[in-house]
Symmetry: C2
Amino acid sequence: MRRAIEYKKKARVLLIDDNYEHLTGIKEIISMEGEFDVVGTSTSANVGISLAKKTRPDIILMDINMPEKDGLQAIQEIESLNLGTRIICLSGYDDADLIFRAMKLGAKGYVLKTMASGQLIYAIEEVASGKIYLPPALCSRFIEYFQTSFKEESASSSDEENLLSYLTQREEEVLDLLTQGITYKGVASKLFISETTVKTHVNNIFQKLQVNDRTQAVLYAINNGFTNKKKALMSKI
Amino acid sequence: MRRAIEYKKKARVLLIDDNYEHLTGIKEIISMEGEFDVVGTSTSANVGISLAKKTRPDIILMDINMPEKDGLQAIQEIESLNLGTRIICLSGYDDADLIFRAMKLGAKGYVLKTMASGQLIYAIEEVASGKIYLPPALCSRFIEYFQTSFKEESASSSDEENLLSYLTQREEEVLDLLTQGITYKGVASKLFISETTVKTHVNNIFQKLQVNDRTQAVLYAINNGFTNKKKALMSKI
DNA sequence: TTATTTATAGACCAAAAGGTCTATAAGTGG
DNA sequence: CCACTTATAGACCTTTTGGTCTATAAATAA
């Protein structure tokens, strides 16, 4: 588990925690372990971000419960800088929502402050070596949260009373063109039919979808899983 | 169906694996452990699903690399039945995409076939007790996949050349109402301004977003992160 | 102060959208 | 064969949209 190879580069670590006691405590723990190099400490998120830009550390240990600026925001800012820095969250809470948001923003680890110091060291080692570290209990929380989010979403978008299923193929083709913001004239020429026919189809679509105009039809289509890039990304089976 | 008259209820397990050798092997491992009750086995996904309906097991161990019917589909079907059964995937591959899709469909665990039998027992125990079990290495894979999916999505939707940022507050309010499929008249009465004013705003919006009509404006708004339920769900910071 | 932006609004007009009714040809299922 | 659905399309009409031009008051920036 622990690498004893001395010639290996020490991982450069930056600490950000508004609680000074805690900050120095962690610094000591990490420094004692000869493996890491603490290149900076900060009790403020903003100063921490500046330090990150200057020192470009390998790892940031970031407290995410800070007043002034939210730790999550700090993660977002640092991630958007693309410094190649890997962020580990330090938190007092194992709240699923917090964990989810932190990981979504690109955190590479999440450890609780109540954790034994040996585990913290292990987490840093893991993350420094390119892995992601989430303690099993938190991983479980994270995935539960992830699953319920998706269950809600698919439930709301299926509802099994999807009016889109009543459309004929031709109507679907027309709707598809409508969702691209094309006029009747345009649809007519694309489908090689007359403008009147398009209007007839559109009227039928409106009735089937129970809407009054194209904007509402397009909205219904998008919200109910009618070909949509974003959905495809996250929902391939 | 025999009832085990024991102090602690044994977890009832159903096994689905198209490889018969493997199936019997697992059955033996599980049965030896006095803790579980194998209530059925199947080498076919479809039969397995029927068995699940009949026996309503606590746990299903499901091979997800089966010919005939995909294990993922089977998971989806069983989950949609809401039997209260918790599914653990058995797979020969630690492919991130597979893991992600399985968990997204509601699997409660994912273990590799190469795993030591003791670990399999542990996984079943964990899942049976209501937790989610993903071995650390797979959890890491899962989260990496999750993060890259979201990075792509936010990258494509920000691009930092977001025309929406040029809109004034008032124009945003108007656009917001447009994205609900409301007419000029409706917008006017909601904002307590004249219809003409609405039209002026809308024209400005079109120019700023470089579109020609409301449908295209609405599409632009949705595809570029303008208040949208689905996004909100998955992207609160 | 002057220029610019923002929100407001009127007038006029053309194009597009939407509603309703009718009608025909092809295909499907009893 | 008859009823039904689907795709096609014309006629007529109203409402909504969108385009352009002008204009005023308030706030803001140069």
